[in-house]
């Protein structure tokens, strides 16, 4: 991924307040942390929850210093809201992977709110982490009544 074997993997989640950006980044950070990586995660709360632009950075690897991804250094950029794709695209490094709602067959989502989980499913294809780790983490982050829908959404993204 990078010339420096110690350099962290940089994953940014972006969207608007209320679209599940923070939740998606929490789940992703949980998955990599439980696998034994050093993880740092940065985001800004406050005004962002009123429908404004939201970003959450997750960095992991053997050594992570700043919790914030430097300019143009995202290895993966997961955008949950179509209107934000062009706004945040410049954060992606050349050769980095951009995932957007266009990568998901949204008509098949069990509920529109599960788009973040479907994109996590899509992101999961980029890593060789055991699938069960993702599914376990999903369960700890949602109420039981949402488990079935999220499992389905995750499968939808992962099977793309």
């Amino acid at each position: 991924m990078s010339l420096n074997p110690l350099a962290p993997i940089n994953v940014r989640f972006a969207g608007l307040g209320g679209t599940g950006v923070i939740k998606a980044s929490d789940i992703f950070a949980d998955v990599v942390f439980r696998l034994g990586h050093t993880v740092k995660k940065a985001e800004v709360h406050g005004m962002s929850q009123r429908g404004g632009s939201v970003q959450s950075d997750v960095r992991f690897g053997p050594e992570v210093h700043s919790p914030m991804i430097p300019d143009g250094a995202c290895d993966f950029l997961v955008v949950l809201e179509p209107s934000q794709v062009e706004v945040v695209r410049e954060g992606l490094r050349s050769g980095g992977v951009l995932l957007t709602p266009a990568d998901i067959d949204v008509a098949r989502l069990p509920t529109a709110k599960a788009l973040n989980v479907a994109l996590l499913g899509r992101l999961s294809r980029q890593f060789d982490f055991p699938e069960q780790n993702w599914r376990d983490s999903l369960r700890t982050h949602f109420a039981e009544k949402l488990h079935a829908a999220n499992d389905k959404a995750f499968s939808l993204g992962r099977s793309v």
Binding site: V44, G46, R50, G52, H65, P67, D71, Q84
Partner: protein, 595 residues
Amino acid sequence: MHPSQDSSGRLLLSGNEAVALAALHCGVALGTGYPGTPSTEILEGFGALGGKAQWSPNEKVAAEVALGAAFARARVICTMKHVGLNVAADVLFTMTYSGVDGGYVLIVADDPGMASSQNEQDSRRYAEAAAAPMFEPADSQEAYDLLRTAFEVSERWHLPVLFRLTTRVCHSKSPVTPRFPVGVAPGETGAPTPEFIRNIAGRVMVPGHAKPAHKRLRAKLADLQAWNEAEGPNRVERRSAVLGVITGGISYHHVREAAPDASILKLGLSYPLPMKTLRDFAASVERCVVIEENDPWLATACRAAGLTVESKDDAIFRFGELNVDRVRRILAHDSSPEPMPPRGKPPELCAGCPHRSSFEVLKELDCIVSGDIGCYTLAALPPIAAMDMMIDMGAAVGMGLGLRHVLPRDQAKHVVSVIGDSTFLHGGLPGLVEMAYNPPATGHVLVILDNGTTAMTGQQEHPGTGRQLDGAATYQVSYEAMARAAGVKNVVTLNPIREKARFKELLAEALRKDELTVFIARSPCILAAGRIVAWQKELKAKEAAAASECGPDCTCGNAPGGAEEDGLEGNCRAASPDAAAGLDRAGCGDPAPQC
């Protein structure tokens, strides 16, 4: 809090969560504070972990409650955002003189870059000005570890200490290896048992006591500085002999990434500064650079001590938070224009938010709006653009009165003060008293936007919600009774959504009169409405059991509140016969729809 845990027992925690856990493990007897981004989750987390945590009406009261507990030898934390320390500054500047008997850590969260604040003031200046030791953790692990050190310092020198976080430390998550709670580890004793020991000369800060207290304070700081030199939580990392960086807080991590070969002096206790350590470090490298967010406080202190250090170009880097790219620029003396961050979508009031309705009314009546701090400040932005000023918590009332006092009559008649419920109780209450004490010739109109929660910071409880931090029922203050007790004749409660036309009509009438009017625009925050309604139902069920205690005029079937014995109107939820009259109503607090 259900944090991620890895197989080696490490937890993935935000800085705020780490402080909450540390407070629990330190045996903190009481946590107080007022919500404020980015500090809010500390007290909530401490409460969720089982600690005794409570929101106060404002930071000053929170700091005073904590001080009383610390006078009784208890271990306490008090949390607030940077501007909250302005409110609590009065306590701070003299409690360093008196000192404390129990450990007192005042946690203050700065917001460089103003992610959700009205300024980017630097709390390090408070440490120096008030002579309070200041700790500055760089990440969650340090936040956890340094809180314990902060208590050790506070209890050893009998001083309240400041614990400065910044937005990125508060809200970034990183791994934390927790230690044993105090009293559990071998050789450690638990937190002290509270007890009152009289010390009039030490705690009554009249000049005769305060003069020697000031000298004691300076002697303590000199002693603490010597300790900080010898064994303080500072660290020298030797790498390059060419480039050395003096830094602390989150900037440390940016420096490690931007200049991996640089030697670093990382400060953990930044006041009183370990000047000899700084001098030795600066002399040990060819080029010494101070990297700090906000004010050039550290660089100035170094230079005042005669050290040769470089610092950031304050024409550029004093503004906003630092990051890896900016630190690279500082180290490279690159003051060229920075790339503009992409323009994201600004936040806005939620669809269905009662504030939308209220501000539509204010706009339709062409009001000059003296505003305040909360979600409703978003009404200053287009397309609503119906708030004319916002400075600090509670200022809506005073600024509105000032406008009324001096503006020509035709303009003065349009001035309205608008403030949220939590903000009113925080800082607006003295303004209400001023309003009746020095009424402008044209009268005045104050609108309290009561959405039943501290919405902006994530729906915290406050004295107007009738619930404590953990949701437990408590006395619910009545804005209506407060306004009348202050001397305001006209008090109107209405629902700004369901009674929008009435609101407009009555506001227009109030603006015409040369009298004082307080409106309580009451409709729950739509994000909190479900919780509020469920709680109200529960309360109603409880009150129904005591329905027979209601007064003869009551039509609601609910029990009167506990203040009735005091001659106040208490919590009776009946709409009085005067309610329909709107202005001049003398009924009790809540609007008819709840009855």
